[in-house]
């Protein structure tokens, strides 16, 4: 009986389900609505990007899904605890690259004897085999984000949340990391909810692009990206769809200058 229940709970049809989620913050002038009635599903194995201008509450939304904050209204359900990657790598500088990953494993309850091997495997996965003993400050920006990715993967969550993880990187490195992320997503079958303000990045990566309006954040429109992976950010169809989305995004931003 217990096992059937567990199985029933296991076969969820979503990695994350947001129903009528609103969030407001208390400000000196009263409460400010940041997110308004957001409903969104991320299917298992799906790659969704959340796109929006500043002030649309993308990061707030991600914090809610990650469980770092509570919604004012609505419900958020996720399939297990999601992993979260930040714009800043957020690696712990007192630990080596490998030990950062091992800490994630340890907090998940992986026995000591298995941690080292698993950490090496994860570093191999992000093409950083041999970087186990490297200190964080000895790594380049791109390498740090890959270690951070490996640490997030160490949590073995079924959902990976990414908060503009490549925004601070140079264009060439970002390009390479897009390829890596696509490859890892395909290899692991993870669901990804990726927040960005970069339209081309959103189209390059996602199966589905969700555009949020600003102040308060609402789901403005969605696009299915039917292009096959691996794509390149320079591909003509990517550019075409980016142009279309950018026009809608600009329209959303323009509305704010009109009153």
């Amino acid at each position: 009986m217990a096992t059937t229940l567990a199985k029933a709970a296991r076969s969820v049809e979503y990695a994350a389900r947001l129903e009528h989620v609103s969030k407001s913050f208390a400000t000196p002038g009263g409460s400010q609505l940041v997110l308004d009635d957001i409903s969104l599903d991320v299917a298992p194995g799906e790659f969704v990007t959340l796109l929006g201008a500043s002030g649309c509450g993308k990061s707030t939304l991600l914090n809610l899904v990650a469980g770092l904050d509570e919604p004012t209204a609505g419900t958020i359900r996720t399939d297990g605890r999601p992993a979260l990657m930040f714009q800043d790598h957020a690696l712990f500088p007192w630990l080596t690259a490998g030990k950062n990953i091992e800490l994630a494993l340890r907090l998940r309850g992986v026995p000591r004897a298995e941690r080292r091997g698993k950490a090496e495997e994860l570093l191999e996965l992000v093409r950083l085999g041999g970087a186990h003993g490297k200190r964080v400050h000895e790594l380049s920006g791109g390498m740090r984000q890959r270690v951070a990715m490996a640490r997030a993967l160490a949590q073995e969550s079924r959902l990976l949340l990414m908060d503009e993880p490549f925004a601070a990187l140079d264009a060439i490195t970002r390009d390479v990391l897009h390829d890596e992320l696509t490859r890892i997503w395909q290899e692991t079958g993870l669901s990804v909810l990726f927040v960005t303000h970069n339209v081309r990045e959103a189209v390059r990566l996602a199966q589905r692009v969700v555009l949020l309006s600003s102040r308060p954040g609402r789901v403005a429109r969605e696009w299915e990206v039917g292009l096959p992976q691996p794509r390149r950010i320079e591909d003509a169809p990517v550019a075409e769809l980016s142009l279309e989305i950018t026009e809608v995004l600009r329209g959303e931003i323009r509305r704010h200058g009109q009153h």
């Binding site: 605890r81 979260l84 957020a90 712990f92 500088p93 093409r127 950083l128 380049s140 691996p230």
Partner: protein, 296 residues
Amino acid sequence: MASTDTTTTNAPAEGSVEAGLDALETTQSSRTPLRRTLVDKVLPPLAAIVVVLVVWQGLITLKIVDDPTKLPTPGAVWGAFREDWLQGKLLGYIWTSVSRGLLGFCLALLIGTPLGLLVARVRFVRAAIGPILSGLQSLPSVAWVPPAVIWLGLDNSMMYTVILLGAVPSIANGLVSGVDQVPPLFLRAGRTLGATGVKGTWHITLPAALPGYVAGMKQGWAFSWRSLMAAEIIASFPDLGTGLGQLLENARTASDMAMVFEAILLILFVGIAIDLLIFSPLERWVLRSRGLLVKG
């Protein structure tokens, strides 16, 4: 994998761009060679010591100061060192004080650490004793000697009490400021990894606060050593064994200026030596491993 044919043409080896980028962007950090360390770090203080000795000897040779009870010659001070060394007493003096100082410091660490954590994490405790704790840092710990003598009499426990009162506030305050300066991002990252509560304190907060804690320890040692010397000078009593403070006090009573200089120099050098041998390497190690130590 219908796209394999197209990708293989423009991707000679998978991950090779990445390997190139990694190689280009990785900085190699190397240790400074021994020779440069000697020239940059050892030579200047040695030169300063030589200058002081020359000026000192000059004052006496040129008869600017010619009262040996006011200023002994460097040779006479050296003679005092030599005599104590030959009689086998020198190391005894040093050990008496150093063992007291280090034991008292360890006790201060045992008390200051949980106290600091409590002040850093519990809002009520911080409001209650935080200001007192930082205020106590500016109270010279010599002030504790008279009450400690009255409470505990002339024995070692009095010495340890004075050391504790001097060092505990520094250590606790160092830890508090270390915890305050932990970037919130680390705490959030820790929470998403599942480090909450005690696990969060142990795996994230404490290691992240280590630089501030070590700085507090360093200052705590300086305060321990100063308070101990004050206690030894004021409460010098033969049964307690002769430490460096008592040596200085004995020299004063005997009006032996060479011995006074010997004692002062010993107090100075032991304090510096402990800092150079224990706390500075500890601090450098903590900072270097985090990439926070920029080579000048």
